[in-house]
Symmetry: C2
Amino acid sequence: MKLTKERIVDAGMTVFAEVGYQNLSMRQVADRLGAHAGSLYYHVRGKDELLALMADRVCRQAYDAGTETLAALPPTATWPDRIEAQATALRLSIKQHPGGAQLLAESPGRLSTGALALMERLLRTLLDAGVPAEHCGIAADALLSHVTGFVLQEQNQPSSPPPVTAEQYAELCERFPLVMGDLIPRISQDEKFARSLRLLYAGFAALSWSPRLADR
Amino acid sequence: MKLTKERIVDAGMTVFAEVGYQNLSMRQVADRLGAHAGSLYYHVRGKDELLALMADRVCRQAYDAGTETLAALPPTATWPDRIEAQATALRLSIKQHPGGAQLLAESPGRLSTGALALMERLLRTLLDAGVPAEHCGIAADALLSHVTGFVLQEQNQPSSPPPVTAEQYAELCERFPLVMGDLIPRISQDEKFARSLRLLYAGFAALSWSPRLADR
DNA sequence: CTCGTTTTCCAACACTGTTCGAAAACTGTG
DNA sequence: CACAGTTTTCGAACAGTGTTGGAAAACGAG
């Protein structure tokens, strides 16, 4: 079948879902299409452009997933509920592909229309929530980079933590008592994500109640 | 001179500062040491371990820079000042190397002692600021990932934005009025960073005043 | 010196992204 | 259909990557 930019991105997404970000190669994408690697370069300027297109598609998926989640919300939902719906939709969309956070991290974020759509809806939600207009941009930016940052460290966490001897462990506890102590709660990533979001809500709420707070 | 793990990391850091994260190769690091690439593998398990060691060193530099900045603070400094000092020190340390944020992003963060030291001091500052203990872990985690996320998008921003036709620009303005409008303030990255930090402060303050806020 | 260990070299291997000229496929025209 | 022109694909090549393993050198102790 004929080769197209769209079909190349499609194949790129499936290969991406299978082998992850680190092992994605042009040759594998070409193989999936029954073509040779060099042929891709007639439709795509290079791997960078392909990655950028794929990042945009992830954003689109996150946007669509967000509209579904928002639609399922009861009419009594508050604005933190609506923000959380969008944030978790974005997080789940990124987590669908191994290394998905790195894909979003390394592509220049604000250019793709998918990212713009995510941003636009978030800004609207914040405005409706009562956040002053002059702080909405910062707030939405912070929230988006927070989600990608969270998934980044979530996906990079080693599945099996390296074994430490009792001696090393004791030294760590002495040097870093707070970190090794009970300040770091042993909760699931989902709950951790939800609580970090509520932390941001608190900031948004403080901004909407007394806008002067963020101006120093 | 003899080859050592420390010397390899040293060479890696200088090459890293010159060519950036994307173009860092084992052969360049070996060349800088007057050695051959294969020799590195006697001291280092692979490129991954070298990158992890380098990430740890960046964290150490950020920690040391933070102690200096904190020491230069007047005694009248408030806790937001002390947090901002640590956050900006971390940001500047990451920005010193091109692609430094990606280095931190791709290395499993919580394992290195440098990252632990950063975390420990941040936790202490938050505790002193009055943030309830059960929220300190989340808060510190959110702040660290916020800084790396911010520098990530800061370093990936294209220096010269691609030219858009007036027609495309008009369509963008119609589809994304909030994003293209004046909600996104045209301020420097420094000021943007400072304001996003104040947004997090507001969240911390809300937590320390009424801890129930973040529990729903 | 000599043995044994630690360290370095060097040539390979299997990959990667990318380029380029030639071959093929397709399109519209006489 | 045949021909010319364009669009698309191929296939081989290039320079570079991380990594490995056996040979060679350097080193320290007896």
